[in-house]
């Protein structure tokens, strides 16, 4: 029923993609001035539902009511005209333009003469009103991810949206930035704006949302329950449909010999700026060393130098005592370094090749797959079938192109390939990013199994909780430096280090 305080209502929304029913008769209500969390695993249909509301998708069935009147959106522009705006997980900003230019992009207002400095003022005032500090004349590429997100929010506020939909807004932020974002969001609801907060992180949802709607496999499992009346475990249950154990059984283990050693390693990033500064790090066999840090503080480059994908400008990298510094990527592979890359689609897999072709990427050079100069396709297929079963890769056949696979299955293809070689060192970059609760558990189990088997594991993750539960030792990176090695698993302390706070005062105790 349409209620007066419902700003938006969605009724019986059905959205289908080939072979997938993304939204199955979903109802959703959003009240004026509330923060409403949309919770669910990856692929539960959260983003799809909100993309329908933002005019990006047309539903197969169902109706949207805004202010009690049915609305029909043909494009995001229609939705914005009705006051509904969405901020996507991947920002839609133009890097070489300024903040002001990005906010004005697509609007009719400055028609011919730009006179941007006038608008700069406007942006500044708007930003101050909501506690979103930005430099209007700054170019997007000069901004941090957090600042870029502020620009996205301003873009929507400038267009006068009443409903702000945020798709996984915290996935790119540091703990402190998340706090700031939450403050901003709360201040926005004061004058009647509503916020839809899409997330799969229970902690955040519990701390920010007024009400929660949970989706599972395209269906609503809880509709607008007040946050105060529920608990984390209940929500997890609603999300996954079974009890989730937040406890992994990790046995105590004495680490063995040093497998990976970095000595004063420095390196540049893609822009030619220093990315790693005199990094010293040791990983022993049977030990998981977790590297925490806000994205873009050198973790990516750290993984790349160790796996031979990026040159070091100084320093030495030793694997089992063997110098692999600036050797071609082949050398670390041959000395038993496995790599679960950060970017699954652009680095970790060849999208148009089959599962078979993808699982043999590291082992095709050696027998039994290689026979002289020929590749044994029968053996390759057998290997793929076996890994498909062992790692429960869900796909019709091993001839399926991997671009057809979901994120979780794609990660299983990569893990199957990397872990089946019994590595001496595993470099796991963001191994659970974007995966749902069930899949995360599976990946973490596999990592612990490798640790049992005596592999040295370098784990880079932005999920503090993951670093805390899995690691035997925690290191923190900030601006290309290891600012803490062997840090306590304390969110407060690690969070401070991650943002460069109190670096000097903590350094004494850490080293």
């Amino acid at each position: 029923m349409v209620q007066a305080d419902n700003l938006v209502e969605m009724r019986g929304i059905v959205k289908m993609f080939p072979g997938v029913l993304a939204n199955d008769k979903v109802d959703f209500e959003l009240r004026r001035g509330e923060i409403h969390a949309l919770l669910g695993e990856n692929g539960a249909g959260k983003s799809t539902l909100m993309s329908v509301l933002a005019g990006l998708y047309k539903p197969e069935a169902g109706t949207i009511f805004v202010d009690g009147k049915p609305a029909d959106f043909n494009s995001p522009k229609d939705a914005i005209a009705m006051g509904l705006g969405m901020i996507h997980q991947h920002f839609t900003l133009i890097n070489s333009h300024t903040v002001t230019e990005n906010i004005l992009l697509g609007l009719d207002d400055p028609r011919f003469l730009m006179r941007l400095h006038r608008y700069d003022k406007k942006m500044e005032t708007l930003g101050e009103k909501f506690g979103l500090q930005v430099t209007p004349a700054a170019k997007i590429w000069q901004l941090s991810v957090g600042e870029q997100q502020r620009v996205e929010i301003l873009k929507m506020l400038y267009r006068g949206v009443r409903v702000l939909i945020m798709d996984e807004p915290t996935s790119v932020l540091a703990p402190q930035e998340i706090e700031e974002l939450f403050k901003t969001l709360r201040s926005m609801t004061v004058d009647g704006r509503s916020i839809v907060f899409i997330s799969h992180k229970l902690n955040e949802v519990m701390s920010i949302a007024d009400r929660i709607t949970v989706l599972r496999q395209g269906k609503v499992t809880a509709a607008g329950i007040p946050t105060a009346t529920t608990s984390k475990s209940e929500l997890a249950n609603l999300m996954v449909g079974r009890k989730v154990l937040f406890q992994l059984d990790k046995t105590a283990k004495e680490p063995g010999d040093v497998v990976l050693e970095l000595r004063d390693v420095s390196s540049l990033n893609d822009k030619g700026l220093p990315a790693l500064r005199n990094v010293n790090l040791k990983v022993r066999s049977g030990e998981i060393v977790g590297v925490a840090g806000v994205a873009g503080n050198g973790q990516t480059e750290l993984g790349q130098v160790v796996t031979g994908l990026r040159r070091c400008t100084a320093g030495k990298i030793l694997v089992n005592g063997e110098d692999v510094t600036n050797k071609p990527a082949r050398v670390p592979i041959d000395s038993g370094v496995a790599h679960v890359p950060e970017d699954r689609t652009h680095v970790g897999t060849a999208p148009n090749l089959t599962i078979t072709d993808n699982v043999i990427m590291k082992s095709y050079r050696e027998p039994p797959l290689a026979k002289g100069s020929s590749l044994d396709h029968v053996a390759a297929r057998e290997r793929a079938e076996q890994l498909k079963d062992e790692y429960t890769i869900l796909a019709p056949t091993v001839d399926t192109q991997v671009r057809m696979l979901s994120g979780g299955n794609l990660q299983r293809v990569i893990l199957a390939r990397e872990l089946s070689t019994q590595p001496v060192l595993l470099v796991a970059m963001q191994p659970t990013r974007g995966l749902d609760v069930g899949a995360i558990e599976g990946v973490q189990r596999l990592l612990l199994k490798q640790r049992e088997a005596g592999a040295a594991i370098l784990l880079v993750s932005e999920e503090l909780e993951e670093v805390f539960t899995l690691s035997d030792r925690i290191a923190v990176m900030y601006e290309g430096e290891i600012v803490g090695d062997g840090v306590e698993a304390d969110a407060q302390k690690v969070g401070l280090l991650m943002t460069g706070g109190k670096k000097s005062s903590l350094e004494g105790t850490a080293s």
Binding site: G68, V347, T349, A370, S374
Partner: protein, 379 residues
């Protein structure tokens, strides 16, 4: 505010057809689909061609019958078709190899000329003495043609791998250099009595033709198909092995699909770029060698009516499958031959163009499934 009853109803719908066409991406492409779709595309192309022929006042059936007869109608013309197909197979293979790795070698034309030049150098400078046996002479020409072609592939390959120079530009420009270079030799060095051609090669430098064996088997009389066809077929098998069965072929496919993944897998992209461009150039160079050894028997201007460029089209039509390159090249050889029969430029070129369009367009059917569904089924 609306009444409760109104809310329960869906809003009024616009008029809609009871049937609806839906386009869905295919998750899996059945093996039989690709050849069936290609065949269908060719048939549709011929129908469109027939329509155009009818519009301009021709009799499509007669025209097609004539084209078929002129290209494949008798042993004699079939043999001529195969002569035309031989260089096309080799340039088609050259392009297919490079395109597999997403190296856009459009320099098969120049590499073809360089192969011809290389073979000529061996004969005309007396590196191989005139009295040498055919086996030795042809063998030397073969090696020289392949090496010259490979060299012409090495240059853009190295520039691309080391200097990140766009290979489309370099291969295109090297075409003109190769043609001018051959012209220099034709006009300046080996010109025979001022004509723009070298003297005819000695008989031992001619590739054997079917007609050479007419004394033993009279049926072969006048058949011009030469040994170059064997080179082309062997090359197709070798390329097929390399791409589908060898370790190197796997690396080529991987680099072609995702160079960053290939790098991550420890594959040396620089080396492979150079090698693949050399392989591609060698195949085109072999085409040039076979053309002057088997057909022209001398170095002269305009030995290629654009075989190198037609090779690009053939490679695409064959979906970069080296074995399929062979029949496609034969089809094109036939169209070139029949073209001269009925019209110097118009209709056969037109049909070639329509076939190309249809085959490229038909790719959609491989990637998507088109379904007609009833509206009622949808929800």
């Amino acid at each position: 505010m609306m009444s409760n009853e109104a809310v329960k109803q869906t809003p009024p719908r616009r008029f809609q057809l009871p049937l609806q066409i839906r386009v869905e991406p295919r998750l899996e492409v059945p093996r039989w689909l690709s050849p069936v779709v290609s065949l269908g595309a060719i048939i549709v192309a011929l129908l469109i061609g027939a329509l155009i022929l009818a519009i301009v006042g021709g009799n499509p059936f007669q025209a097609y019958a004539h084209i078929a007869k002129a290209a494949f109608g008798s042993l004699g013309v079939l043999s001529d078709t195969l002569v035309k197909a031989t260089p096309l197979i080799l340039t088609g293979l050259a392009c297919a190899v490079a395109f597999r790795m997403k190296l856009w070698n459009i320099g098969a034309e120049g590499q073809f000329y360089m192969g011809a030049l290389g073979a000529s150098v061996v004969v005309l400078t007396g590196i191989v003495p005139e009295e040498a046996s055919r086996f030795v002479t042809v063998g030397a020409m073969l090696i020289a043609g392949v090496v010259f072609g490979a060299l012409w592939g090495f240059i853009p390959g190295w520039l691309k791998a080391r200097m990140k120079v766009n290979e489309i530009i370099t291969t295109l420009m090297l075409n003109y250099i190769a043609i001018s270079l051959t012209n220099y030799f034709i006009f300046g060095v080996w010109s025979e009595g001022g004509f723009q051609m070298s003297h005819t090669f000695q008989r031992s430098a001619w590739l054997p033709r079917l007609s050479d064996y007419a004394e033993q088997a009279p049926i072969l009389r006048g058949l011009t198909t030469h040994f170059g066809l064997v080179f082309a077929l062997v090359a197709a098998v070798i390329v097929g092995y390399v791409l589908y069965r060898s370790i190197w072929g796997y690396e080529i496919r991987l680099i072609g699909d995702n160079p960053r993944a290939a790098e991550y897998a420890g594959i040396n992209i620089t080396r492979n770029t150079v090698l693949v461009m050399m392989f591609s150039g060698a195949l085109a160079g072999l085409g040039g060698m076979s053309e002057i050894g088997g057909v022209v028997h001398r170095l002269q201007a305009a030995i290629s009516p654009g075989y190198g460029f037609t090779g690009i089209i053939i490679a695409w039509l064959a979906k970069l499958n080296p074995i399929v390159v062979v029949p496609v090249a034969v089809l094109f050889g036939g169209l070139i031959l029949a073209g001269r029969e009925i019209q110097p430029a118009g209709i056969p070129r037109l049909i070639q163009g329509i076939i190309l369009f249809m085959l490229i367009a038909s790719d959609v059917l491989l990637r998507y499934r088109i379904r007609i569904v009833r509206r009622a089924e949808r929800v």
